[in-house]
């Protein structure tokens, strides 16, 4: 198998295969040690009674999976995550694209402005979360001082269950809108100018040009950005950890629940089962998304 894979290398002996294997080995060993092994180890653990700080474990069959499907917090975390991902990606995409439309022209200080907008994206989410805590503080926070200034009773961002998820969401949007802005700018810049001219001569109104030229031609890149953001937002943990902690019903995302179950409560078996369920869901979602992207790319002949 090692020699046959090399194109044009017909007639080479097996020794070349060993050389190639030696080159690939380090990466392969790391991959197996940190990706493949944990995956299977996790799968095995999910069928056991393993707990942190408890000696020994026994096979428990599918009991952990039954628990995962019975106990409400697991499905609640999935719902919270889904809601969070949906709202975050939609807000960021919409805001980023609108900002890009406004910035898609030449003006003095554009580079400086873009750089300033990108700073939140460069900071670690945990730092952003901690920083946001200062702004969100019920009594001394800058945000509530501003809101009170308008004569409105400010919400208790970090303690009112109705506002906690919003607080997390705002930080995420703050961090990632610039990313969508950047991609949107690139997408807008990639639409050939002569298409706009052709549309103008074809008597298209500004709205029609936007709807029939700008949007469809930007769509593939925007879809890719949305997909990237979705996969990232699915893992949301740091900001939740910083603002409410991992065990808050209102903001408990899948990652927060995994952390809570595995490391705080020590339920390794059940946590592993949950991780497996989440993995299957994520694979399903990713497959649907990449299929859609492929379809978009095939439909989009940029060749003309």
């Amino acid at each position: 198998m090692t020699t046959a894979a090399a194109p044009g290398g017909g007639g080479r002996s097996g020794s070349g295969g060993w050389g190639a294997a030696a080159v690939v080995a380090p990466a392969l060993i790391l991959l197996i040690a940190f990706n493949v092994f944990p995956l299977f180890y996790n799968l095995i653990l999910s069928f056991t009674s393993a707990e942190l700080g408890v000696e020994g474990w026994t096979w428990v069959g599918t009991r952990n999976y039954q628990r995962v499907f019975e106990r409400p917090e697991y499905s609640a975390a999935l719902r919270t995550t889904a809601l969070f991902v949906f709202l975050a990606v939609v807000c960021e995409l919409a805001l980023g694209f609108v900002l890009a439309l406004a910035l898609h022209r030449r003006f003095a200080g554009k580079t400086a402005l873009l750089t300033a907008l990108l700073i939140p994206m460069m900071l670690p989410p945990a730092v952003m979360g901690l920083y946001a805590n200062l702004l969100y503080d019920g009594d001394y926070g800058l945000l509530n001082q501003i809101i009170s200034g308008f004569g409105v009773a400010p919400p208790q961002w970090r303690t009112d269950p109705a506002w906690k998820l919003t607080a997390v969401l705002i930080v995420d949007v703050w961090m990632w809108t610039p990313f969508m802005l950047l991609i949107s700018l690139a997408a807008l810049g990639s639409v050939p100018r002569h298409l706009y001219e052709a549309a103008e001569v074809d008597r298209a109104s500004a709205w029609m040009v936007f709807r029939r030229i700008t949007i469809p031609l930007c769509a593939p890149l925007l879809a890719l950005a949305a997909l990237l953001r979705t996969t990232d937002a699915l893992k949301q943990f740091d900001i939740v950890m910083a603002i409410t902690g991992p065990n808050d019903q209102a903001t408990q995302t899948v990652s927060a629940l995994l952390y809570q179950g595995l490391f705080a409560d020590g339920k390794v078996g059940r946590g592993s089962a949950y991780a497996c369920v989440v993995l299957v869901l994520v694979i399903a979602l990713a497959t649907v998304c990449t299929r859609y992207l492929d379809w978009l790319a095939r439909r989009q002949g940029r060749g003309a």
Binding site: P192, A198, E200, V201, P216, G303
Partner: protein, 380 residues
Amino acid sequence: MASIDIDHLVKVYDNGFKAVKSISLPIRDKEFMVLVGPSGCGKTTTLRMIAGLEDITGGEIRIDTRRINEVEPKDRDIAMVFQNYALYPHMTVFENMAYALKLRGMKRAEIQTKVDETAKMLGLTDHLPKLPKQLSGGQRQRVALGRAIVRKPKVFLFDEPLSNLDAKLRGEMRYELKTLQQKLATTAVYVTHDQIEAMTLGDRITVMSAGEIQQVAAPTVIYDSPYNRFVASFIGTPVMNFLDGTLTGADQPVFKLPGDAAIALAMPERHEFPSFAGKPIVLGIRPEQLSHGGYTALPKGGSTIPMQVTLLEIMGDHQYVYLKRPGFETPIVMKCNAHHRAAVGETIPIHIDTTMSHAFEPGGDQARNLTLPKGFTRQA
């Protein structure tokens, strides 16, 4: 039905570059007008101002006597074919062609009929459900043409539509364009840097250079009676030969070359010659006005000069022979029958037919042609 009046048109870009310097050009109804010139001569800018894609700095453009300077492109009733086709990549051929009709609020059935009709005319019927990326370059250009034709506009604008195609396709599309133009009989403005396209397609040609009109005339007039040295050198392949020398003799004018050689001048228009007698002039001879003395008879009113062969380019039925002679700085090109044998290094007698050649004032591109009939105008 549409005539276009370009009246003292000026374009100055924001960076101060004067792309078009006050040109005036009336384009007649149903005329196929070709704007030709080297890149940067202002031809595309002029076209884009007619289309409304470029603001007009000064002067006026009128379509059918109506001033259109301030009219939006979409309200000018023009159709434009772009160099890179500018097809909407996410729409099928049918949708590309139907788009403008749909924007006008035309009924679905009517759109279907019109697009089908146009597609049939262009041989695109089988390609209607395809996307532009599934088509070849020639087919794409045909879709771009179809998109323009289907609207039945007042004016067609073409911006170097064939320059992205290979030589063979370009020839085919040129033929098709010409046929279409005869069938549709719509006013058209066609920009190209290709003089063959200009000569073959144009009812009239406008030769432009450095933002100014050099000459406007029918293709044969441009070729036979170039107004100045620029037009003479721009139109024709290989380029016209220019020889520096002195004009002598009054009744029988003779062109004296450096050294002892002399060429008798036999062009019919000689009214400018007396004022240039004894002064330096430039003789312009097209390559086909030279012939191999060993195979041809001396033309009436011609002269023979021996020259040395430096290079041969055999094109099949004809060949280009590059010649030199002491005192000539640049090589002289002769176009002759490929069977007229000449060897590199050999010195052969060259017949020069001056009945169709031209004499110019000394100077650059703007040097006037001295052998034009009295009353000949730059714009005809």
